[in-house]
């Protein structure tokens, strides 16, 4: 084990998998110099055939990913900020997510789309979105949201070896956070949530950027005598219903922390699944801690006001625990 930065873990996974599999190619805007650091050094090691800066043309890049994948390559497409996924959305929604089914299963799309998401840095509304709800609703793409360096590396390796289009969304502004990463060549399967803390009173499900706040919230709650169970979903599609349902069966209470806007958020979906399949064990209605249905404001105080944080999560959890049954 060694301590690694989140972004370094992603870079390591790309290095190792590209060395393993010569069919992996990676392209995107300024991936050679690497603004985020995740593609740092790849060009020097693997050369111009496999690593390329592209022009700014997202609508074409997503289509090219589809075409290159349909023609035998394993494509990693870097979209930089997740808002630019919208700029390239047509080929994602109409091609990448659908062509396999529409061709009767003839096509395979080993495509990994990388992008940084989330707010908190006064980047304003066009550089701060958390866009996975839209992706989750497409049907044909996976969505992975690693929160720790070790998960980022293990999940990315799985994605790079798999044959389905997958959005690997990087927690924006978290690149420098460090944690232990195993030295060996390990992978983490998609659709397996991680229970980060066991507890009896309330289940907190945290997504991507919210995991760190979930950890802090659980600690805050422990100080108040509330024993929270904390689950990091790790991937949204596929989604590990079993782990969440098992936890809610034990605690009877659910809070989901999600940096997406509330309406049709990932949190809404998770609450719906629990209401549907875990209704009998619920002691109170599930709570979502999300961003209100507004565009992300620029000013730091206004942005902070709409972003979920540890206090908001802890308050929601405490309110559930303290609520009288039936109220």
């Amino acid at each position: 084990m060694a301590k690694k930065r989140y972004i370094q873990a992603i870079n390591d996974a790309l290095m190792e998998e590209m060395a393993r599999d010569p069919k992996i190619i990676l392209f995107g805007e300024d991936v050679e110099i690497s603004m985020f650091g995740d593609t740092q050094g790849l060009r020097a090691r693997f050369g111009a055939d496999r690593i390329r800066n592209t022009p700014i043309c997202e609508a074409t890049l997503t289509g090219m990913a589809v075409g290159a994948a349909a023609s035998g390559y394993r494509v990693v497409l870097h979209m930089m900020f997740s808002n630019f996924i919208y700029t390239g959305f047509d080929a994602i929604a109409n091609q990448m997510a659908k062509l396999r089914l529409m061709t009767g299963g003839q096509m395979r799309f080993p495509i990994t789309v990388l992008a940084g998401y989330g707010g908190g840095r006064s980047s304003a509304a066009q550089h701060s979105d958390t866009p996975y709800p839209a992706l989750m609703n497409l049907g044909g793409v996976n969505v992975v949201v690693p929160a720790s360096p070790a998960d980022a590396k293990g999940l990315l390796k799985t994605v790079l070896r798999a044959d389905n289009p997958t959005f690997f969304l990087e927690a924006g502004g978290r690149g420098a956070e460090t944690a232990e990463v195993p030295d060996d060549d390990y992978t983490i399967p998609l659709g397996k949530a991680a229970v980060l803390r066991e507890g009896r009173d309330v289940t907190i499900v945290a997504i991507g950027t919210m995991v760190k706040h979930g950890v802090a919230a659980a600690a805050e709650l422990a100080g108040k005598g509330i024993d929270a169970e904390l689950i990091d979903v790790r991937s949204l599609v596929p989604f590990d219903e079993d782990t969440v349902l098992a936890s809610v069966r034990k605690t009877g209470r659910l809070v989901v922390a999600d940096e997406a806007r509330d309406r049709c958020s990932a949190a809404s979906h998770i609450c719906a699944v629990v209401a549907d399949k875990g209704f009998g064990s619920l002691k109170a209605a599930p709570k979502r801690v999300t961003v209100p249905n507004v565009a992300m404001p620029y000013a730091p105080n206004a942005e902070k006001n709409v972003l979920p944080n540890a206090t908001k999560i802890a308050e929601a959890a405490a309110a559930l625990v303290n609520a009288k049954a039936g109220s």
Partner: protein, 331 residues
């Protein structure tokens, strides 16, 4: 006779210098404030490109519209936006032109026809085309100008907007500011052929100008604006210029390697549009050194006042988002 074929008089020239100076000094202040850690978000500065915004916007009225880019402070100020309101916006204050909701990449003043800087590369092209369509429907002589970079010209929407504007004879003026870089990529590494040739395919008036020569820009833009006002349809201008600061002010903090040589920046400093224009004005005895110093002093005061205003402003109203997300409807 095309009025812009005439030699500009002092009444035209001094305001051009004024606008360029204002942009330069405001941005120098923003650079200093950014590096002092005072600004909440990042800033993309226009330093070195001032002649383009100043030369084009000199021909525009408040009723004409412009769209801009992530590098939008210069366009905002050149089109008559308030330095106070822009700086307060960048500081994230209630007094900001967008009430602190947009920040540096989104400064907009609709009352001045500034439809906004934009964080999505090439988004302004279609917005300007739509605005030009509206101008045409209004049957007036309004025009719409889109400022965009060489990098933006690689988005398909550039071709699409040229097509619609030409097909419908819209008063769209495409101003491509080729500053040698698309973020950290030298233009030639991501752009095939000459950008101007893409526009030439539509058989519209196309002009390449030295974007560091404000008079060259002013002449080309004058012709394009007049053409559009008379119902002649769209034009394209490629202004070759250079950004003297980073893609964004923070870039040295995260880039592991340089993407251009100091020598190149130095070479372009020798062609600084502001210095060239000052030299021209004094060389041609249009202005003397004293007049220019007086203008500098006046601008310095405006910048100081705007910076103080911004710093002293009230933090943005955090609840505003719920009130203004929709018109007359709460979010």
């Amino acid at each position: 006779m095309n009025s812009t074929n005439l030699d500009p008089t002092k009444d035209t020239l001094v305001p051009l210098l004024r606008r360029m100076l204002l942009i330069r000094r405001v941005e120098e202040r923003l650079s200093a404030d950014f590096h002092a850690g005072k600004l909440p978000g990042g800033v993309h500065l226009y330093i070195g490109q001032e002649a383009v915004a100043a030369g084009v916007c000199a021909h525009l009225r408040d009723s004409d519209t412009i769209t801009s880019t992530h590098r939008g402070h210069g366009h905002f100020l050149a089109k008559g936006g308030s330095p106070r309101a822009m700086m307060a916006e960048i500081w994230g204050k209630q007094e900001g032109i967008c009430r602190g909701m947009g920040g540096s990449m989104h400064v907009a003043d609709v009352s001045k026809g500034i439809l906004g800087a934009n964080g999505i590369v090439a988004a302004g092209l279609a917005i300007a085309t739509g605005s030009a369509f509206a101008a045409k429907l209004d049957k007036g002589d309004r025009v719409a100008v889109c400022f965009f970079g060489d990098g933006a010209s690689n988005q398909g929407t550039f071709m699409e907007c040229l097509n619609v504007s030409t097909l419908w004879q819209l008063p769209t003026i495409f101003v491509c500011e080729n500053n040698n870089f698309s973020e950290f990529s030298p233009t030639a590494t991501v752009t095939a052929g000459a950008i101007i040739d893409r526009a030439r395919a539509f058989k519209i008036p196309c002009t390449a100008v030295d974007g560091n020569d404000v008079l060259a820009v002013w002449r080309a833009a004058g012709a394009a604006v007049e053409h559009a006002r008379k119902g002649g349809g769209p034009s394209f201008i490629e202004a070759h210029t250079y950004r003297l600061h980073g893609h964004l002010e923070a870039e040295k903090s995260f880039l592991k390697s340089p993407y251009r040589e100091d020598r190149e920046i130095e070479e372009w400093r020798q062609r600084d549009p502001l210095r060239r224009f000052k030299d021209y004005l004094t060389g041609e005895r249009i202005c003397d050194g004293g007049e220019i110093d007086a203008l500098e002093a006046e601008i310095a005061e405006i910048v100081e006042d705007a910076a103080r205003f911004a710093e002293a402003g009230e933090p943005a109203d955090p609840n505003l988002v719920f009130d203004i997300m929709f018109h007359e409807q709460r979010a």
